[in-house]
């Protein structure tokens, strides 16, 4: 007997039905809603590739059953911005060429968004700590840290105008 769950993704109401109640949110996002920006990395809630915001809080979605987000608000990397209208974080990542293989970037962008939402002026150390739930294997860390700093500065400037 399929179960049905209603919630919002990137501001859009969705209603999904799954046969298996264990189905993780990540699977729903990728396979049913075709939002593949949220990546699978480990399925063990360890690497952060699958980070999304649930009611504004960063959460790993790979082992989170979809029923737990019923009537909640989910944001994924696709909700940040688009090539035509990039989020300042996405623009800063492009400006700093912050990435190599890029597989970890979706989750890192989401974690960074959560950080800047609660702390618009983070220090380099605070950014590092906020991203410690996300692994990067290529060694793009410093570019990523610079990009988050740059985006924060731009967002503060934008907010001050």
């Amino acid at each position: 007997m399929p179960s049905q769950f209603d919630f919002t993704v990137n501001g859009r109401p969705v209603s999904v039905s799954v046969d298996n109640d264990d189905t993780p949110l990540l699977h729903v996002l990728r396979s049913i809603l075709k939002l593949v920006g949220t990546r699978f990395g480990c399925g063990l809630e360890q690497c952060g590739c699958c980070m999304v915001l649930i009611d504004g809080e960063p959460v790993k979605s790979c082992a989170k059953p979809v029923w737990t987000v019923a009537s909640k608000s989910v944001m994924t990397v696709e909700g940040l911005g688009t090539p035509d209208k990039p989020h300042p974080l996405q623009q800063a990542f492009l400006d700093e060429q912050a990435g190599q293989c890029g597989y970890c970037l979706s989750g890192i962008l989401v974690s960074a968004k959560a950080l800047l939402d609660r702390n618009p002026s983070p220090s380099r150390r605070e950014i590092g700590q906020a991203l410690d739930d996300n692994l990067c294997r290529c060694g793009s860390h410093n570019r990523i840290l610079r990009a988050v700093e740059k985006a924060a500065a731009q967002m503060r400037e934008g907010a001050g105008r």
Binding site: Q46, R143, L145
Partner: protein, 703 residues
Amino acid sequence: MTTLPGSLADNPRLDRWVSFPNPGEVGIATGKVEIGQGVLTAMLQIAADELDVAPARITLRSGETGTTPNEGFTSGSRSIQAGGVALRYACAEVRALHLREAARVLGCDADNLTVRDGAILRDGTPTGQDYWSLAASVDLAREATASVSPKQSSAHTLIGQSTPRVDLPAKVFGEAIFIHDMALDGMRHARAVRQPRRGAVLESVDEAAIRRAAKGPVDIVRHGNFLAIVGDDETSVEAAAAAAPNHVTWAGVEPRSPLAQEANWLLQQPSVDRTVGAAEAAPVRGQARYEQTYSRAHLAHASIAPSCGIAQYKDGHLTVWTHAQGVYQLRAALAKQVGLDPATITVLHVQGAGCYGHNGADDAAADAAVIALQMPGRPIRVRWRREEEFGFEPVSPAMVVKVGALLDDAGRPADWTAEIWSGCHVSRPGAGNLLAAEALPNPPPKPVPADPPDSGGGGATRNGTPLYDIAAKRIIHHLVPETPVRTSSLRGLGAMPNVFAIESFIDELAERAGEDPVAYRLAMQSDQRARAVITRTAEMAAWNPSAARGTGRGRGIGFARYKNTAAYAAVVVELEVDEEIRLLNMWCAADAGLVINPDGVINQLEGGMIQSASWVLKEQVRIDTDGISSLDWESYPVLRFSEVPETKVELIASDSDMPLGVGEATAGPTAAAIGNAVSHALGARIRDLPLTRERIMRTLLAT
């Protein structure tokens, strides 16, 4: 006849590289594939610059059997050095052939003609001719001659520019760019239930229990000792695969020795021995001799994504999508494995997460191919589980390196021996190197372990010879053929442990001689490019020769020219040590010859530094009687954001026309610089990697 440059030697036909398919469009093909190193961007820069066309006109194909050149593996920091150079020469020749044809049509001298965005200009004025109008009369189905020199550096417009990565926007906007994101019509999901090791026999399968665990419909496929779970719902397939090892029994599973976890296990093993280099020196009475032994444990590639492969067998043709490093090599191996004619197999590269060498990519593709042949029609997607990637990918072999030197009166080495113990560094897919093949009926014989030849950079011997002015140098190589876990290539092969050993040893000699480590190195270095990177890195770091030892804060230097033929790099590391190591700063100056994309090169160099720092501080594959036991990111930790030091990288301007590979250039120097900095900080040396808390505590207690 001279050999054609780079990969042109094996792929001389010009039309394999360049085509003009439709008016205004340029087709470029490369056998090198994107594994996160930015190679596609560099290839576009090369082709656009040498052909004088806008990059937007170019459609780049990469890693497709049948349509792209066979350039072997994308490995060894050779993508630009071999593939990029080939593309440069091919494009330069194609441009010249079209100018020659234009000159014939226009009745003028080719010297008066130039190209602007594909259009032919005569003395700067449009002629109405372009690549596309001339294409029909220029036959590119001909062999390259490399008789046309690529542009001089001064004429470059795109080569040498930090062009933004073409693949990065899709990765920043969360688009479907990875193989993991492919969703083909009718695609089914699958997981293998891994044979614990070669030769293990599948005795029983409790299918009912596996189906219960799935909580949804799944098919169970068995072929010999190859077992897989297939279904339409990935969650059910994943659940079944996670539970399956508890519901199958295997016979013939030999226990592994947990002692093999430590590198010095190698010293007790049978080995295949050889000596390369200078003849053994006769000892001179009274001459000082110094000797030390260094080691490094097994390392995992630990790609951030587990491997993925997709295969479809339809109408007698097998199509395989893979993120492996060599599509032609995988095709040949698959053909052998499943008994198909290679002509009936197409292998297509799709990007995966960074691999840094031979990880599970080929094996996941082979899994998918075996299942697809069992279940013709629909595409089969195999995505390895995290535990499967850690547990079954080939790992980089542990190594022990004993360095000994006879010293001259000034305390400098006059005679040098590096004795190296290591498992095999390369077991790429070939006969018998695909996991699935080992489980099928009539498995191939176990391949004979063989390192790459020294002429190609070697495996365990890579960078085993120091690039210093030493009268006699030799390597004694002990290849340990039987290792407890499968080993294969990881970024730099033996270069990291060898450079760690050599450069640690050099520091120890400098200390014995009472000399500054930088000055000591320069005193026996006559290669000007090597001197330049060492000197510049020391300047960047404001190197202080008289900084006191044993204060808890230290700095160290490491240098190597990768493979002694590729890029030169020196690294200085500054750190603090109490019970643990805190990296503060890393500086690097490198000479990469002709640089196609400076920011891309810097990104590779600093990525290599940070990855090496992670290896040195944290990484060791754990082995117990079952095999690899470090199966997740808790048991195989890597460096995290808050632990990464500041990095500064500079490129030394070079007047060379030849690019030198950079992807693996900084790993060895960084490892050595960290080791030397820890020694400087502690006033005592740790010679075994990783530099764990236990080793630091033991060293502190002993001093």
